[in-house]
């Protein structure tokens, strides 16, 4: 491949965005935003979902053109017309959803779109050797011949970074890069990013995780509702201050009294030796056993794709099990989803847009789904529209759903409010057991706090909650006990008091409990 500038000294000394405005029909995604990143700096871009971070990054990467404002590269005004243009200027982007072709090898992914040194013929051996050298210079091991679909998420991310460096990226934009990593993988990533900073590269780190911003970044630009709140040095900043800047008001964290111990009765949900065949993109479940008591939140920690979805689906009756049994309140939990719901189980699915709600339906229709054949919503075969309307208005008020009205299509609501609608529907049935899968993923801080409150309320009422989350902080904040899942197996279950993040991180990465005890 044509030698990229990877060995040469970085050629980007600064990238400056000046008064950038980008409008979409009905919204101003970026309103006169200015910020600047310099060589040898990690600059955080912090903001909630919808604050305008992604739009700004797409402008830097040439996917969008700003309606107003200027981009200056090394002090010179430039127009970045396309991703290829951005790459040619030394800008690389690590997308949250990796831009890799899963069926191709690492070397093929790197070579894609580049000229071969042999004309029409591929020079994958040359590419492979360079990839190995590049990886080694960051202390990484990457097999250039491995098919990308067989790599772990962390490894895939490394391939993405190497792909960008191979193309000579001096400025790297990382979009929520730690969302899919174990704590250890995140540490490795940070080490690599710090090395790049030393080498004089410029890094833009997009995140809403305050801890990471403070740990890694030199400066932080905070966005809120498309506007720039300000740019601050991170030195001397506290998490509380950052959170206030990001949200614009105080956030009530769960208080200690919310977590007062609830008298724990005999197990309500019992899962014994549960196994299933592998799902698409997920592993097989292998003899999963745990118990869940009334008044308890069991947190299931794990890296995405380790069987969490399979487990939740099997318990909810959406996926067949091959062995094992589940009981709820002593009675076997069998049959399809409908029967399991009737037995007192509720499920907040991970893919809320796909499995949790019907996007083309109104808020009201989504609220009554599943129970719409029964009173109070139905009278015989007919919908009791008057009652439906009353009950839905009550639910919208009670669960603080921000919607113009019950007839509004649910797809026009924010992620947090869609999730509130689903929570309202599931909790209104007063379930005995709730499975909440990634309940706050992609949800803004305000709605997250509210959803946490709802889960704690359910616990206080003596309900049992299985909280599946990739956000370890969330699990540590809410759970009474913590189970760790890896490759379809429960690696360990421990009380919250005995849990430490490092040990959980190692278990998430697949370390065995024995290897950790000495």
């Amino acid at each position: 491949m044509v030698a990229a500038a990877q060995q040469a000294a970085p050629t980007i000394s600064s990238l400056e965005l000046f008064n950038i405005t980008k409008r979409f029909p009905g919204v101003v995604a970026n309103n006169r935003v200015s910020f600047e990143v310099r060589a040898g700096e990690v600059h955080a871009l912090l903001g909630e979902n919808g604050a305008g971070k992604s739009t700004l990054m797409k402008i830097i990467y040439g996917l969008y053109q700003p309606d107003d404002g200027q981009i200056l590269l090394n002090g010179q005004p430039v127009t970045i017309s396309s991703p290829q243009d951005a790459i040619a200027r030394g800008i690389g982007m690590i997308h949250q959803h990796f831009m890799l072709v899963p069926s191709l090898t690492v070397a093929e992914n790197v070579a894609l779109g580049l000229k071969s040194s042999r004309g029409m013929r591929l020079d994958l051996d040359v590419v492979a050797a360079k990839v190995e050298r590049l990886a080694a210079s960051y202390g990484l091991r990457v097999d250039p011949r491995a098919e990308v679909s067989r790599l772990s998420v962390g490894e895939q991310q490394r391939v993405e970074i190497i792909k960008a460096l191979y193309r000579g990226a001096d400025l790297l934009v990382l979009d929520e890069p730690t969302a899919v990593l174990t704590p250890q993988e995140a540490d490795d990533l940070f080490r690599m990013l710090r090395q790049m900073r030393e080498e004089g590269r410029a890094l833009i780190f997009i995140s809403h995780k305050l801890r990471e911003v403070l740990a890694l970044c030199d400066r932080v630009t905070v966005l809120r509702d498309g506007r720039q709140v300000g740019t601050f040095p991170t030195a001397g900043m506290s998490r509380g201050e950052l959170a206030r800047l990001m949200v614009g008001r105080e956030i009530a964290a769960p208080h200690a009294e919310d977590r007062a111990p609830v008298p724990v009765g005999p197990p309500l949900l019992q899962v014994r030796g549960l196994s299933s065949s592998a799902g698409a993109g997920g592993p097989a479940l292998r003899e999963v056993s745990f118990e869940l008591s009334p008044g308890e939140i069991l947190g299931l920690a794990g890296v995405s794709g380790n069987g969490q979805r399979e487990l939740a689906d099997v318990i909810a009756g959406l996926r067949p099990s091959s062995a094992g049994e589940i009981s709820l309140g002593g009675a076997p939990l069998v049959g399809g989803p409908g029967e399991r719901m009737a037995a007192g189980l509720s499920y907040i699915p991970e893919e809320r847009m796909r499995d949790g709600a019907i996007m083309d339906f109104s808020v009201e229709e989504n609220l009554i789904l599943r129970d719409h054949t029964r009173p109070p919503y139905a009278r015989g075969p007919f919908l009791d529209t008057a009652r439906v309307s009353t009950v839905c208005r009550e639910l919208i008020t009670r669960f603080a759903v921000k919607t113009p009205g019950p007839q509004t299509p649910i797809k026009s609501l924010s992620g947090g409010n869609i999730q509130k609608v689903i929570m309202a529907r599931e909790l209104a049935r007063e379930p005995r057991v709730l499975i909440a899968a990634q309940p706050t993923r992609g949800v803004d801080i305000g709605a997250t706090a509210y959803i946490h409150r709802l889960l704690l309320d359910m616990r206080a009422r003596g309900g049992a909650v299985l909280l599946i989350s990739e956000d370890l902080d969330e699990i540590l904040a809410l759970a009474d006990r913590i189970a760790v899942i890896h490759d379809g197996e429960i690696a360990a279950i421990m009380p919250r008091a005995e849990a430490d993040p490092e040990r959980i991180g190692l278990l998430m990465a697949g370390a065995s409990t024995e290897s950790l005890s000495h």
Partner: protein, 309 residues
């Protein structure tokens, strides 16, 4: 019964197998390239029919075999280009537009046939020429290695397609575009251009495949000459797991059973001929049902690409 299984009859069946395989190979290899780039072309049959007609007509009027092949290739390529326009630029539902393309090719070739020829005519097509050395091997020489140029070219396409897909930058582009067009686009691979190219080449090969019937294997043209070959070719791409060599194996298996059933009919074994004719198709359905090759399926197959979506 024992006289049915002589070496001579087996060699005869193998000879027909190679001959029968030819149109399937052209169509299926072209379809493989298209599908690897994410385009499902169900209109292959129509493109074959147009190729068969145009090729035949040129040979019938000018006597030039090369002219016939080139004309068939051009006709197929034009239809392929049309398919690309509909499914890449206008982002039409590929399953439906493919059926439309088939009906268009069927109708147009039948109409032109009636207007220009009227009745079934014949031409002298490509002669069978033994391959040097191989052709003179006793037994299998005349059976496997004595065919027309059209047959040899079809078989040569298989390693060529495999080489292009796996060893060239352009092949890498095709595979990337078929599996994750967003990623390919972000790296500067021209997604639409790649698909236009594979669709056009697929159409071109389908056209030549049609001509391989009308000016090489059968040397006649009649309405609906191909009789479903194009559709079977699409199925064989799935069967072959989207790999040229796999597709070749599927084509050979299918043509072997077809050749066998022809011979069974000739020898008059007590099998109703309608049933015998069904055999290869039943086999195809069975093979597709038991071989779960979803793993090799290009992820973006039938999905139109929109930047940023």
């Amino acid at each position: 019964m024992e006289q049915l299984l002589t070496i001579g009859t087996l060699l005869g069946v193998l000879h027909s197998m190679i001959r029968l395989a030819t149109p399937y190979l052209y169509a299926a290899i072209g379809e493989t390239l298209g599908q690897r780039s994410g385009l499902l072309n169900l209109g292959v049959e129509g493109m074959m029919l147009m190729g068969a007609y145009v090729g035949f007509y040129v040979v019938f009027t000018t006597g030039s075999l090369l002219g016939g092949v080139l004309a068939a290739a051009l006709a197929g390529a034009l239809l392929g280009l049309m398919m690309a326009l509909v499914s890449v630029t206008f982002r039409a539902e590929q399953g439906i537009s493919g059926i439309g393309m088939y009906l268009f090719g069927l109708g147009l070739s039948s109409l032109l046939f009636k207007l220009t020829l009227g009745t079934v005519q014949s031409v002298s097509g490509f002669p069978e020429v033994p391959l040097p050395l191989l052709g003179s091997i006793p037994g299998i020489g005349p059976s496997l290695f004595t065919h027309s140029v059209m047959v040899y070219a079809a078989f040569a396409l298989v390693p060529l397609a495999a080489y292009v897909l796996n060893r060239t930058t352009w092949g890498l582009n095709i595979r990337a575009v078929g599996d994750n067009p967003q990623a390919a686009d972000a790296l500067g691979v021209p997604v639409a251009a790649v698909r236009y190219a594979t669709a056009t080449i697929g159409g071109l090969l389908a056209g030549v495949g049609g001509a391989s019937l009308s000016i090489s294997a059968l040397n006649i043209f009649q309405e609906n000459l191909t009789g479903g070959i194009g559709f079977i070719a699409v199925a064989l791409v799935y069967f072959g797991g989207w790999r040229p060599v796999g597709v070749l194996l599927g084509v050979l298996l299918f043509s072997f059973v077809s050749a066998l059933q022809l011979w069974l009919q000739v020898t008059g074994v007590g099998l109703p001929s309608d049933l015998a004719v069904m055999l290869p198709y039943l086999l195809t359905i069975l093979a597709l049902a038991v071989s779960n090759r979803r793993a090799g399926q290009p992820s973006a197959l039938t999905k139109p690409f929109t930047r940023g979506a």
